[in-house]
């Protein structure tokens, strides 16, 4: 399949205008010894029909489980039909970054609306137009805090998603910052006492997550208090945005930056990407935050319109003085999120409640099995950790029935080697849960 419209005639005419007699002349600047005859290792071209067949075969080599009890940073939520129909409109998905505002009012307004909804959900005043994912959003927030304060120590709770902590390590190493990990208390939440001892005047930021990786809901206000007393900033993250339908947002509780993963808002699991980095902050940081920002303004006739604003923060203007190098973001995923949030509206609360009902049902049923024990005492949203007799055997049994079980914690938390992290969203039915219990009895 080939998408070039050129006929032999076209090529001949165009060559004549350019003043060349063969296409090779266009590549004369390439030194002879570096000219390629043929790209190696690529299968021959195929028709569209064969493409569909071959790609179908590859997709067919995957196996979708009946349902999954794993969350751990990516969540199976129901996506209303409207989302795909809007993001599938070519005017949106085949457009580029809305630098030419007059012909991009559609995307600009949609993103302005998204920014507004995210700011409200997170309890902050500003949200940018997206980052790559929750992990890099959190890392970039940490880097920004360090650059603004000229302090070089970053404290991160161990209850933050392991991959987020790894990304933070990479970004911190690149910038020469030190990362200190904060242990969790028996409740599963941040150990406030240890935090107090770690906070000194070298700490730029403290990073936490709520609900955290164990599903535990954190007391953000308490942590914010302690952090601010030492002149540091608080970055609070989340991995399942639907939790914001019911939980007190970190911004209201005192966080300076609220970052997280927006995949739950209308984006499929997609085997890990593309996802959606959410980045929100207090108003005073508006001129420092990374990423694109859509602002409302008026045109010369007084009509309301939207533009990318405060671009002087960004790489194309600040260049080596920019606090981030982000250029392309996850705009279409943000559009999906905006449509999703507009579609759910206040029902986001009911969705969150439903997640809680399912989770409590699953948790109680599992605790009814012999040898299963609670690990943490903190309240949870839609994920929880349980100590189980034979973690591998349990997941194996479930796998044999085509069910993906809980997430094994020992890889990232060796002290929790006998525990599993479970998630129950609205996509898990009572029947599913009863079946799991029957299998594991």
């Amino acid at each position: 399949m080939d998408y070039c419209p050129h006929t032999a005639d076209d090529i001949a005419q165009m060559q004549s205008v350019i003043g060349i007699s063969s296409l090779d002349e266009l590549f004369a600047d390439i030194p002879e010894k570096f000219r390629l005859k043929q790209i190696p290792d690529i299968p021959a071209a195929i028709s569209e029909q064969e493409t569909v067949s071959i790609m179908g075969d590859i997709a067919g080599k995957n196996k979708l489980p009946q349902f999954t009890l794993t969350g751990a940073g990516a969540y199976h939520h129901f996506i209303p039909a409207v989302v795909g129909h809007i993001t599938g409109r070519a005017e949106f998905y085949t457009a580029y970054t809305p630098y030419q505002s007059e012909i991009s009012q559609g995307m600009l307004q949609a993103i302005y609306e998204y920014q507004t909804m995210i700011a409200h959900l997170t309890g902050t005043e500003i949200a940018n137009a997206s980052m790559y994912d929750g992990a890099s959003a959190m890392a970039e927030a940490a880097v920004l805090c360090a650059k603004m304060s000229s302090r070089t120590k970053i404290i991160v709770a161990r209850s933050v998603h392991p991959e987020y902590r790894k990304v933070l390590q990479t970004y911190s190493w690149a910038n020469g910052y030190t990362v200190v990990e904060l242990p969790y208390a028996p409740s599963g939440q941040v150990d406030l006492n240890v935090l107090q001892t770690q906070l000194d005047d070298q700490v730029a930021a403290v990073l936490m997550q709520s609900p955290n990786f164990f599903g535990a809901i954190e007391d953000i206000a308490q942590v914010a208090d302690a952090v601010h007393k030492k002149g540091a900033l608080l970055v609070a993250g989340f991995t399942d945005g639907t939790s914001l339908g019911i939980l007190q947002p970190a911004g209201v509780a005192g966080a300076d930056f609220v970052v997280g993963e927006g995949q739950s808002f209308g984006n499929p699991l997609n085997y890990g990407g593309p996802y959606l980095g959410i980045f929100a902050a207090r108003e005073k940081f508006m001129r420092r935050i990374p990423g694109r920002l859509v602002g409302a303004t008026v045109d010369k006739d007084g009509r309301r319109g939207f533009v990318l604003t405060l671009q002087t923060r960004e790489q194309h203007i600040r260049r080596e003085k920019a606090t981030s190098n982000i250029c392309s973001n996850e705009a279409l995923c943000a559009l999906a999120a905006g449509v999703y949030l507009a579609a759910l509206g206040k029902n986001l609360k009911r969705l969150a409640e439903l997640n809680i009902y399912k989770t409590q049902y699953l948790k109680n049923k599992l605790l009814g099995l012999a040898g299963w024990k609670e690990v943490f005492s903190a309240p949870v949203y839609n994920e929880f950790v349980l100590n189980c007799p034979g973690v591998k055997k349990i997941n194996e049994k479930l796998k044999n029935e085509g069910i993906t079980g809980g997430y094994e914690l020992q890889k990232d938390y060796p002290e929790l080697e006998n525990s599993l992290l479970f998630c129950a969203t609205e996509m898990i039915s009572k029947e599913n849960i009863d079946k799991v219990i029957a299998i594991l009895k």
Binding site: F34, K63, V82, E113, H120, P268, L269, N270, E320
Partner: protein
């Protein structure tokens, strides 16, 4: 047009929630009140109004599917629809990233093969698909360079970057703690070899080069440039944003590049999505393989798996694996086109750019009059001096002719720059009509400059007050 909040009415809703089939729970019993939010202020709209709102928004947006989009450096080529269909297959969209790898063999095979194809196309040893965009790839590449020298026990402080480079280049370097030193271009638009010679020391970790450069010109002295850098033990970084100019013709790996980043949403036809998602795979030569981010796909016999067993890795640059669904589209594109198709894409892209260059050069100043690659750069200087019509005015007038304007004011080294990249998927007729429009604008700029300066007049909004937007930023709607 109203905002979604302005058409919201209490009690309306689009998405309904199923009735619970498990017992309800008293939320305040499970979760203390202090953890619960007080209000949830999201739009309340009926589905028909929701659909109309966003559909009407889309009609105020311009995409490649509507018309010619010659944005230089962005490679706005046609996004094949078969790629969209394939990427929507449940097998690709439905798997959780932590699914048992036994369930994900199709995905892993795709990633593994994609990396192999990219190695073949670009002459590199290995690739990573983790970075989410070109800039993210640049950061990853610079991090690997940093680790390379750390491992050698030699800290090098500087990265050289040409004055014509994209802003992400110096930004990425600074973010890894490097000092950025600017390298001059010569009068032909290539690297000033003497300047490079004088700047290249054993304190320089790398030269970041875009080839062809942001002027659309192939670096004629690439062999010498690579030699100068390597001779002092430095590394050559290639910004692969302009890869559409050389697929099947030459390979960065062969030219001496040690690391390159690509933009799948440019060269490999995946949609730009209004600003993203993209994907920025990074390819490396032997010297940097050990430092690639983890996890990496490994193949044992016929089975694929993820492995983190690479002790010298820079670590992770994002969660999970990469913008997988974007990679599915790019993979489909590569399979569909094959080696011949990729080469033809490059040939037609370069043909189209040179055709436009020849047709427009009597009307606009052409700073570098030589064979260009996939994009050509003009200057609006003549129009500015003649009648005060700026490049931005020309761009806005093109909107009234039904086009998305080319890239303007970039690269910085060309005054009033206009960068035109047609891509290979445009027909001769499209290019002819575009050139006619540009010629008409050049004429109008001379004879009736006001007519150009007031553009656009055919759009839903006129020129917007960017100064107001920056002085009094309003980035979040507030209920009055």
């Amino acid at each position: 047009m109203q905002l979604i909040f302005e058409i919201s009415r209490p009690g309306r809703c689009s998405a309904d929630i199923p009735v619970s089939d498990v017992p309800a729970v008293n939320i305040e019993d499970e979760i203390s009140n202090k953890y619960l939010r007080n209000e949830l202020d999201l739009p309340e709209v009926a589905e028909i109004d929701l659909i109309r709102h966003y559909t009407n928004l889309s009609r105020r947006n311009f995409g490649v599917d509507l018309g010619f989009y010659p944005l230089g450096s962005c490679t706005m080529k046609y996004n094949p629809k078969v790629n969209e269909n394939v990427a929507a297959l449940p097998g690709f969209t439905g798997l959780h990233p932590y699914a048992d790898t036994e369930y994900a063999q199709g995905n892993l095979q795709l990633i593994y093969e994609m990396q192999k194809y990219l190695c073949g196309i670009f002459g590199m040893e290995e690739f990573t698909i983790q970075p989410a965009a070109g800039a993210h790839g640049e950061l990853t590449g610079v991090m690997m360079i940093k680790k390379y020298f750390e491992k050698k026990g030699r800290k090098r402080r500087v990265i050289l970057i040409p004055d014509a480079a994209h802003g992400t280049n110096p930004a990425s370097s600074a973010l890894c703690g490097f000092e950025v030193v600017e390298l001059r271009s010569n009068t032909e638009g290539g690297v000033d070899i003497e300047h490079l010679q004088s700047l290249m020391t054993e304190d320089v970790a790398a030269l970041m080069l875009t080839n062809p450069n942001t002027l659309g010109l192939f670096e004629r002295n690439i062999e010498k440039v690579a030699a100068i850098v390597h001779e002092k033990g430095g590394l050559l970084y290639g910004d692969g944003a302009n890869a559409n100019a050389f697929m099947g013709k030459t390979r960065p790996g062969d030219l001496g590049f040690d690391v390159i980043q690509l933009n799948l949403h440019k060269t490999f036809s995946t949609p730009h999505g209004g600003g993203g998602p993209g994907s920025g795979p990074v390819g490396v030569g032997k010297a940097l393989v050990d430092f690639l981010p983890v996890p990496r796909v490994v193949k044992t016999d016929d089975k694929y798996d993820w492995s983190e067993n690479f002790p010298d890795t820079i670590g992770r640059v994002r969660s999970f694996y990469g913008n997988f669904n974007v990679i599915v589209k790019a993979y489909t594109y590569i399979r569909s086109l094959g080696a011949e198709g990729l080469k033809r894409a490059t040939e037609m892209a370069v043909l189209n750019a040179n055709y436009i260059k020849e047709k427009l050069k009597p009307y606009f100043d052409l700073p570098y009059d030589r064979i260009c690659m996939h994009e050509c750069v003009f200057s609006g200087n003549r129009q500015v001096t003649q009648s005060g019509v700026h490049t931005s005015d020309i761009a806005k007038k093109l909107i009234d002719y039904g086009y998305h304007p080319p890239t303007i004011y970039f690269p910085l080294i060309v005054h009033e720059a206009i960068m035109i990249e047609p891509t290979e998927t445009e027909s001769k007729e499209t290019l002819d009509v575009f050139c006619d429009a540009m010629m008409a604008i050049a004429k109008e700029a001379k004879e009736n400059p006001e007519g150009v300066k007031c553009a656009p007049v055919t759009t839903p909004v006129r020129r917007l007050d960017e100064v107001l937007a920056a002085r009094k930023p309003d980035v979040c709607w507030k209920r009055s």
